[in-house]
């Protein structure tokens, strides 16, 4: 039983990190008032770019993750151009990005399809990793797991402890007020979308390089959508996003454990559980949300300065 628990908890961060990175990216987006439903597509592009560059450029995870971030950034530029500059409907554009990402990676990815890779390796922290139970759970993760903690802290620090973060939140809450205060609304939104794209791309890259260690078509399997729900669960707060990602990472990590243990649970039911949990979270948020919603005031609304009516 202890071993089952240790294995389960040791595997949780690998599943939690991509969810957390994507959720953080979406929090930055949505705090600036842009709702990005295209996370799934951005993650796919990141995953393919990560694997392809990992294979082609010397099997380096650093190169893979950089490429993943860059791919996410490119797609985010496209998204930002359409929704911030052209002020198109954010929901429709986001969904388009999902299909665009899936189609594009399906087409380009043929060459690297189904090639197993070594990817991220667990770090060996010497005697720390030898500690029973805790060593395996806490001190034998890959480098990206440890790097994600400062990233989450950084997002929180930026949003709540810097002037630029305050400006960004102002743009998302009340762009009219931000504009009148002399804040460049469109520039902030554009940069927020770009930053969100980088994080979503990294989420996809990590998913392929660490969790799956392979590229296959549409491998994100709805994790982008779960991240969108996690933003609501987290009430747009990076700290709560960490909790949410660990919770859902835990559920995902449990699935292969249960298979391995050979318990007689239908496979499709197990694969459905993350989405069931997502639904449960949204129901819970809806029922418990008696307090005023924490959603940014101008979420999803394009800003036009002279819009009078």
């Amino acid at each position: 039983m202890i071993e089952f628990l240790a294995n389960w908890l040791a595997f949780t961060p690998v599943f939690a990190v991509p969810l957390l990175l994507a959720t953080l990216g979406l929090i930055v987006n949505e705090r600036a008032g842009v709702i990005n439903l295209g996370a799934e597509g951005m993650m796919l592009c990141g995953a393919l770019a990560g694997v392809a560059c990992y294979i082609e450029f010397g099997e380096s995870t650093a190169v893979g993750m950089t490429a993943a971030a860059f791919a996410g950034l490119l797609i985010a530029f496209l998204f930002a151009f359409v929704v911030v500059v052209l002020r198109a409907d954010q929901v429709v554009t986001g969904i388009t990005i999902v299909f665009f990402g899936a189609g594009l990676t399906g087409l380009i990815g043929l060459r690297w399809n189904d090639t197993a890779i070594a990817g991220f390796r667990k770090l060996d922290l010497g005697f720390l990793s030898e500690i029973p139970f805790f060593g395996k759970v806490v001190f034998a993760q890959d480098a990206m797991v440890y790097l994600t903690i400062p990233i989450a802290f950084g997002v929180w620090y930026f949003l709540f402890r810097t002037r630029a973060g305050l400006n960004l939140r102002a743009v998302g809450e009340n762009p009219q007020a931000a504009d009148a205060a002399g804040i460049a609304v469109d520039a902030y939104r554009f940069c927020a979308v770009a930053a969100g794209g980088v994080l979503c791309g990294m989420a996809g890259g990590y998913l392929a390089l660490a969790a799956a260690k392979i590229w296959v078509n549409e491998m994100t399997h709805g994790r982008g959508w779960i991240a969108i729900a996690l933003v609501i669960f987290a009430r747009w707060m990076p700290g709560r996003a960490v909790l949410g990602a660990l919770l859902f990472g835990g559920i995902e990590a449990l699935i292969p454990r249960i298979f391995a243990a050979g318990w007689p649970v239908p496979q499709y039911f197990l694969q459905m559980t993350p989405f069931l949990a997502t639904l449960a979270v949204l129901v819970w948020v809806g029922v418990a949300g008696k307090r005023r919603s924490a959603a940014p005031g101008a979420l999803g609304l394009p800003y036009v300065r002279e819009d009078r009516w």
Partner: protein, 498 residues
């Protein structure tokens, strides 16, 4: 006194409607300038041009004597122009200090800067006699306090031209007097203050100079001491020749009765404070008043889309105060809402479907299957009777011009045959011909015995059409007039401090 701001020949159009039409304005340092005008006269638009929110189509602006092209709010602020908007530009979940810091850079590390901003707020509050907690969240403080936040925010960025858009509209009398005293103090220390208002009392008591606007144009720039109340009202509302008064009619059996009706705005502020009136058969009762005195809330309560907090609404003597819109319709009520596409029409349905919408609900076009033939026939008859220009009953309502859309609403609401009609700003935004058509339809309906409640911010319309007029000011009917009403007396009650 040096000239702080000079604007000339400023023109601005919104979707073909001229909000500003060659307006001019001039303000000097050390003085309070009142900018007076009715709703829609262009006061706020003109000042939005100054603070960089609207780019003018034409015209020139000079600040401190040198011509400038203001290309955004940041630029306006750099020029020392600050505006306190009617709808405060504050971020509600943020604290007072954060809101002020957004618009003012004091430099240094961010956390230190926030503390410095909080200190500076307290210093300004001391000077101005305000009492503000820099750490309070905007959504936890009163409207008057929010306004003080705006003033401090604007002053802190070195404003030497301070514009206040109807600052006293949201304040109690006491609060208003205190604010105006603060404003006088600022002017004495050299700031040029522009006070947008439609209250004559404020102009007389606090302004050194008054500029009056009407229909996007500047019509006067005078010393308020040289202008009587009558003269100011006349300049504001114009003295357009009245059309030949239709014979007074009505006074039949009361069909719509409102007693002591109370209601609140969305943000909880009282909008109606005991409105009482009665409209009889074959009568048009006009509600005159400057916008924002409860017109919208009155119309919405009568439509059944806003709940009354007190009082009674009766249709033909039956209490319908809390009836839902369908019940009201069955009680004989038709409504012409101010926003045609919000409560009136569904833009993407056809003309016939929009026409039949209320009849369908009442079961006039079949109970289960839609009798589309009958609906189409009725629509065609209405298109002819009301001269609605469209490509037949099947065309999409979105394609109708404003005037034709309004005629369609009117045709539908009068077709129910209930004979009670509430019309809110029925000619807003219409051209002259459509306007005349709608007005003559209202008169015809009255001729057929309908009871019409006309709520309008257009004084000429109310004077021309109404058999009786009630003036709505601060949520109360402050006076009633029989036709023919004295334009200036109505005007005085509209802008008076009742």
């Amino acid at each position: 006194m040096t000239v702080a701001l000079e604007m000339s020949d400023v023109t601005k159009e919104f979707d073909g409607v001229r909000a500003l039409d060659g307006a001019w304005f001039r303000a000097e340092h050390g003085r309070v300038h009142a900018l007076l005008g009715e709703n829609g006269a262009g006061k706020s638009s003109l000042m939005n041009v100054v603070c960089g929110l609207y780019a003018p189509d034409r015209g020139s602006i000079a600040v401190d004597g040198s011509p400038v092209r203001i290309d955004g709010p940041a630029h306006a602020r750099a020029l020392g122009i600050g505006m306190v908007h009617q709808h405060f530009k504050l971020v509600r979940p943020f604290t007072v200090a954060e809101n002020v810091a957004m618009a003012n850079r004091l430099g240094g590390r961010w956390t230190d800067e926030l503390a410095l901003v909080a200190e500076t707020i307290e210093r300004y509050c001391g000077e101005l006699g305000f009492d503000l907690d820099p750490q309070a969240r905007i959504d936890s403080i009163s409207v008057a306090e929010r306004q003080r936040v705006e003033i401090v925010k604007v002053l802190m960025s070195g404003t030497r031209i301070l514009i206040l858009d109807e600052p006293t509209a949201v304040l109690t009398d006491d609060e208003a007097d205190r604010l105006l005293a603060v404003i006088r103090g600022l002017a004495e220390r050299g700031t040029a203050v522009v006070l947008i208002t439609h209250k004559l009392r404020e102009v007389h008591d606090f302004a050194d100079r008054v500029t009056i606007m009407r229909a996007g144009r500047t019509v006067a720039d005078e010393d308020p001491k040289a202008l009587s109340d009558e003269r100011m009202t006349e300049l504001m509302v114009g003295s357009a020749p009245r059309s030949a008064a239709a014979a007074r009619s009505g006074g039949g059996r009361v069909r719509l009765a409102i007693e002591e009706l109370a209601a609140a705005r969305d943000d909880g502020v009282a909008a109606l404070a005991g409105v009482s009136l009665a409209v009889g058969e074959g009568e048009i009762y006009g509600v005159a008043g400057v916008g924002g005195n409860g017109q919208t809330e009155l119309a919405e309560v009568l439509m059944g889309v806003r709940s009354a907090l007190g009082g009674r609404v009766a249709l033909d003597g039956e209490d319908r105060t809390s009836a839902h819109p369908g019940e009201r319709r069955r009680g004989g009520l038709g409504t012409v809402p101010a926003d045609r596409y919000l409560y009136g029409l569904t833009a993407d349905l056809s003309v016939a479907e929009n026409f039949g919408l209320t009849g369908l609900a009442a079961g006039r076009y079949g109970t289960w299957w839609v009798a589309s033939g009958r609906m189409r026939g009725d629509t065609e008859a209405a298109i002819d009777a009301f001269e609605i220009q469209c490509h037949g009953p099947a065309s999409r309502s979105r394609l109708l011009s404003g005037g034709n859309a309004q005629k369609l609403v009117l045709a539908r609401e009068l077709s129910g045959g209930g004979g009670i009609l509430v019309a809110h700003s029925p000619t807003r935004g219409l051209d002259v011909r459509a306007c005349a058509a709608v007005q003559s339809q209202l008169l015809e309906a009255r001729g057929r015995g309908a009871a019409v409640l006309l709520i309008s911010e257009d004084l000429d319309e109310v004077l021309d059409l109404s058999d009786r007029i009630g003036v709505l000011n601060r949520g109360r009917i402050v006076g009633e007039f029989e036709r023919p009403a004295n334009r200036h007396e109505v005007g005085r009650l509209m802008v008076g401090h009742a």
